[in-house]
Symmetry: C2
Subunit: 605 residues, 2 copies
Amino acid sequence: MPTALTKESDVDVLIVGAGPAGLMCAMALARAGVNVRIIDQRPAKVAAGQADGIQPRIVEVFQSYGFADRLFKEAVQVHMAAFYNPGPNGGIERTGRAPDVTAPTARWAFEMALHQGGIEQIFLDSMASNGVEVERPMIPTAIQLSQDESVLKDPKSHPVKVVLKDLGAPEGSLDTEVVHAKFLVGCDGAHSWVRRQFGITMEGEQTDYIWGVLDLIPDTDFPDIRNRCAVHSHNGSCMIIPREGDLVRLYVQLADKDVLDAKGRVDKSRVGPETIMEVANKSLYPYKMSTSHPIDWWTLYIIGQRVANQYSVHDRVLIAGDACHTHSPKAGQGMNASMNDTHNLAWKLTHVLRGWADLSILKTYEFERRKYAQDLIMFDKKFAALFSGKPRTDDSDDGVSHEEFLEAFQTFGLFTSGIGVHYQPSAIVDDRHSSYASKLNVGQRLPPQVFIRAADSQPVQIHDLCPSDTRFKVLVFTGDTTNQLQLKNVKALAEEMQKPEHFYERFGHGNSSAVFELLAISSADKMISNYTDAPTFFRSHWSKFLLDDEDMYKRAGGGGYDAYGVDPNGAIVVVRPDGYVGTVAPLGGLEYLDNYFASFMVPSS
Amino acid sequence: MPTALTKESDVDVLIVGAGPAGLMCAMALARAGVNVRIIDQRPAKVAAGQADGIQPRIVEVFQSYGFADRLFKEAVQVHMAAFYNPGPNGGIERTGRAPDVTAPTARWAFEMALHQGGIEQIFLDSMASNGVEVERPMIPTAIQLSQDESVLKDPKSHPVKVVLKDLGAPEGSLDTEVVHAKFLVGCDGAHSWVRRQFGITMEGEQTDYIWGVLDLIPDTDFPDIRNRCAVHSHNGSCMIIPREGDLVRLYVQLADKDVLDAKGRVDKSRVGPETIMEVANKSLYPYKMSTSHPIDWWTLYIIGQRVANQYSVHDRVLIAGDACHTHSPKAGQGMNASMNDTHNLAWKLTHVLRGWADLSILKTYEFERRKYAQDLIMFDKKFAALFSGKPRTDDSDDGVSHEEFLEAFQTFGLFTSGIGVHYQPSAIVDDRHSSYASKLNVGQRLPPQVFIRAADSQPVQIHDLCPSDTRFKVLVFTGDTTNQLQLKNVKALAEEMQKPEHFYERFGHGNSSAVFELLAISSADKMISNYTDAPTFFRSHWSKFLLDDEDMYKRAGGGGYDAYGVDPNGAIVVVRPDGYVGTVAPLGGLEYLDNYFASFMVPSS
């Protein structure tokens, strides 16, 4: 038997775990042309069940990567929520209906749902088009991070040494490999091996709520079966979430005695899908639900709400997704938060690896995403308690009333939709001049807005002009360019911006248009504006000069300056590569922008 | 050398010619599962140039077949038109801007453009998914139509005998085939071989206007280069139409002496793209246009405006597209009219071949499409004359004024957009009860309208629920189903409609849902409506019961009863498989509908 030599290799980023967080990370890095590998211990992707709704912000993020259309083809949309409470006749009755999400500025103001395998396939297809595949089944067996400060501070070093074992390797063949990575991202789930290797602890507790979940195609007379329903009854709580095709997901609360073994652990052998159906039917009385189809998927869980005490080890080993936060699935946040973690991380890694950004930018990953997870868990606890609590009735005054529940549902809706996520000031979020675009929240995602192209009056959604392509978007709101005085200012700005001392050239690394996307937006009237009047610097292509005006049939566009609160004399808005407003400056505020970028970017050499 | 035997075969439909008319026909029949073959004399599809804009109605038609998304990805959109006339300083000046199309009810109220090869590829891809390919290069060499009345009247007969020659067959191999077809559709262009075999003549004349056309990527200071422009100058007329990417199409009027040979025929050797550019630059003065890219495509033509005196021979041989009408390309009508011809024809052939409709339904093809071509040519003449006429100036009072041209542009806009096409009363268009949906025009295409699904409040575009799937769409406007009295009427209707003597069963051929798509639309308020209240007949699936209400964020939907002028007590609207309103009836008007369908459909045996 021949002795296998040890295989060794280098990689820029190694991702451990190919769930939603890992796949989002691998997809985004692969698109950016980063040298990346991703491994997973499972021999194949998830087939059915698992994961929850797709929140409005994630649909926007998917769109920014160019594949929201897949969701519109494959996922179900959930527009309405219905609330049921105990009625006078012993059964439940509907106490109200409301929008399923509270997200008035969302580009798509509804929730979607698609089974996790479907979501993973979208990522896998995109990765394949960039030549990246998940290596599976493969696990890391040892990991070591250099302790040498000078190595850790050199962005070109490979300080992470990982031993990988190929579980699919034929007997007797070489099945281990030593990989030297510049960065390692642990997306390996709630029981994260990566997290445990570095002794990162999870903070928070497990609750006492035990839930049964199942997917079914229902036969029922329940009139809200295609809406998201929160049902409080004297016989327990139950949640209904519509899924793809005719499927529906049921969440029912189970009694401890039904599911726990002698040691207080969930024992799946003690209950079955029939139990869950039986409990659901009790909650839903006087309505009835049955199914004539096989049950696709079901499970039991205890809600655990925990956040890792750190997300990063020396900014070289980072964890994301369930590896650093776990939630109540009913809030529909786990998968969304996980994908948003690595959406936040991927462009920062890319900028560091290209030599554009300083390593320190990676500190903002933990700063921004850990805060979000903590807020999320605070909400999650409140929501889970309200949901699992007894309903208020004439007999029980201390229960949860419909009004109380609805208020919580809506107050937190903006947050859970992902739309309201607000990153606090840091090197990459600077709000000191926010008054120049007073209705934009620096640190929040740029709200959608339709403008028209000056050259051809075609309406365009600003989100579609700000894709996740790793570039900073510099939106120059020029004011009214048919006003000759204003046009003179704009021409002066164009001239100044091209000078080597200012950010566009200074941090452009010899190819400014690869680092920055420059769009100009005039408040001129389309009927008299000539796009040829704008300085050529602001129309490197004719499609890049926009107007804040309605399209020819007044069906879209207009009111963008007002919606963003942009000063009529203009402003410059910097949108981060992940779609969040990084900073706002007055039209003449080039020096301020120079300083903003200097705080985290590396000047061209 | 072996003597080849004659190959003989049967086919339901043989299409000659794979341009836009032939491909639309083949695609639609292939989707419907019809036994169809299509041949073309060219060895490969068109690569560049040719064909004109894609009008709003054709975008709707593409959507009805499920591939408008291809247009949105690949085609350019044209939203604005600009008009130029002689100015005071010897050059041209802009006299106005307007929407490029006059089509307020269009689902997409703009023009698109995509090179003919791109359009053909969309059809070819769809056909391939149904296993149909163009056989090429192949030509018909002889054709014979049975004169036997009993054969012609038997829808199962194969009265058309065609000899085909495979031009790509290897030397010495069998290259001819005798095909017996139930129907033959000649889509073989302006010089149609099929048309000539049956002595069908073209009526109309050739004009004296000679035009040069070229596609280029322009370098120019002309501010409307990305808009459609009609330029009248003292140095000739010129039209600009934006195309895909950075391409622009130029149409310029040429002087007879420059392009005609001694016999008065267009001589392409006498001019080149440089001549066209030179003439364009004279018209556009003081603006300049040049190009630093090779010229992709250019041509010369004389406008001919003619219509065939018949479209059909015994309803067995039919002609479509350029084979029966030719136009001025500047009106952007040729390709659109051609595709609409076979969109009109394909479902009728399908219904006859399935034994659902009487052969006589095919008479409506010529009735509807020849009238349209005649109207089109009447418009075309006026428009071409206005366009080629001298501009009016202070010195020349008899020229065409801006106002005159703009008025013609807009008056005819609704017609040229394809949206205003209005088929006159016939067996399949019956408007006697149109007052029950007073704002619908029976014989016009159903206007787009967003409703919401009662079960889940998801907004849906009624156009997307009325795809080109060969089914008649029966839209039952139920009135307010939360009104118990009205609900009683609706339940009674549901019960009655299922009886064998009424059209749904009588013409259902044992599978009514394959012949008819049944959708119910209630005017109930979504906040109190329960979809489970509707009779199950009107919700064979939960998605088929709709409400005329806004979505949860009031972004879409609502006002459909008003927009269609539907009686608050309800109405039934029948939409033909091609999207045109066939008839309207009162909610209780089953007998009237029975008679409507009886006038062209064959009862179930």
